[in-house]
Amino acid sequence: MLDFPNDPNMRLRNSSVDGADGSQLFEDTSGAGSASQAGFPGQSLLSDPMSNLAMAYGSSLATQGREIVDKNLDRFIPISKLKYYFAVDTVYVGKKLGLLVFPYMHENWEVSYQQDTPVAPRFDVNAPDLYIPAMGFITYVLVAGLALGTQNRFSPELLGVQASSALVWLIMEVLAVLLSLYLVTVNTDLTTIDLLAFSGYKYVGMIVGVVAGLLFGRPAYYLSLLWCCAAIFVFMIRTLRLKLLSEAAAEGRLVRGARNQLRMYLTMTIAAAQPIFMYWFTYHLIR
């Protein structure tokens, strides 16, 4: 204890010398402290060797903890796969939004592959992404709050209620599609996240309809919703046709057989559910 006042200064000088070679045991956090230590002998918190030790231990523990969290999070939520769906750029988003509203002129709906892995959305307009659905969902919640505000029905809890109920219906829709895909035994490479992306594309049409209704009144709402419903219907049919149906049926030739008929019905049902949801979620916003 008698050495205590001397030790910090000794350690200071030692650590500043040790900073030159890389074999120091602790991180050199006292380097910044030593510059200010000259005028403040009372503040020995940073130069105390015990707190040095504690800080170094704490930082190594934090790094370890972060590694464990990363490793376990990757097991539950595939982060690397998610990154693929967010690899978008402005050109892609613009083209995709145009495709969602006007899919009638687009000819080639196939997703291009690059050595067995699908190409990132940045390079291919047909690839599904999660950026537009995520942004669309958030924008829909905000626009719904705005629409409710114009009817004097707004309260901040309603935003949360809107968001959670839209999320619940999205999850239920994805689960229903997964279940029906399992029952019909379609051999497809559609992943769950792909289905989530496709179900999220309808938020774009909903936002367009609600904004048009807010700006121009009910007839504009109905017109724009009708247009967006038709567009989403055609978009979903053309996109799902390539993934769900067999090769021959996808090219438009009539293929007999109960299986292909079942798959066709499934595609039509999934595509028809989108306009229904779109109307159901927005009609109460426009009065």
Partner: protein
């Protein structure tokens, strides 16, 4: 009144989704193999056949029921106990 009729079928929360999921899984788990499923022709030993072709919807459903019952039997015990305790405590 208008507010209520608007939100009747809309105000789902994640909590009600979890509740519905637990109830559905419980419902599937109580279907007894011998006493019930074979009686109505949905037993798994009656699903053999059609090796070359893909199985039909009924066979897929039966497999789904059986796998849900096998997989979720033990976790359901835990989840149901937790639910019972929570409902007793918080109503």
């Amino acid at each position: 009144r208008r507010l209520r009729t608007c939100w009747d079928n809309m105000a789902f929360t994640l909590y009600s989704l979890i509740q519905a999921a637990i109830l559905c899984v419980n419902a599937v788990a109580v279907l007894h193999e011998e006493r019930f499923l074979t009686k109505i022709g949905w037993g798994v030993d009656q699903s053999v056949g059609g090796f070359g072709d893909e199985p039909g919807i009924k066979v897929q459903l039966m497999n789904l029921v059986r796998s849900v019952r096998t997989v979720m039997r033990v976790p359901l015990i835990a989840v149901n106990s937790v639910c019972i305790v929570l409902l007793l405590l918080f109503g």
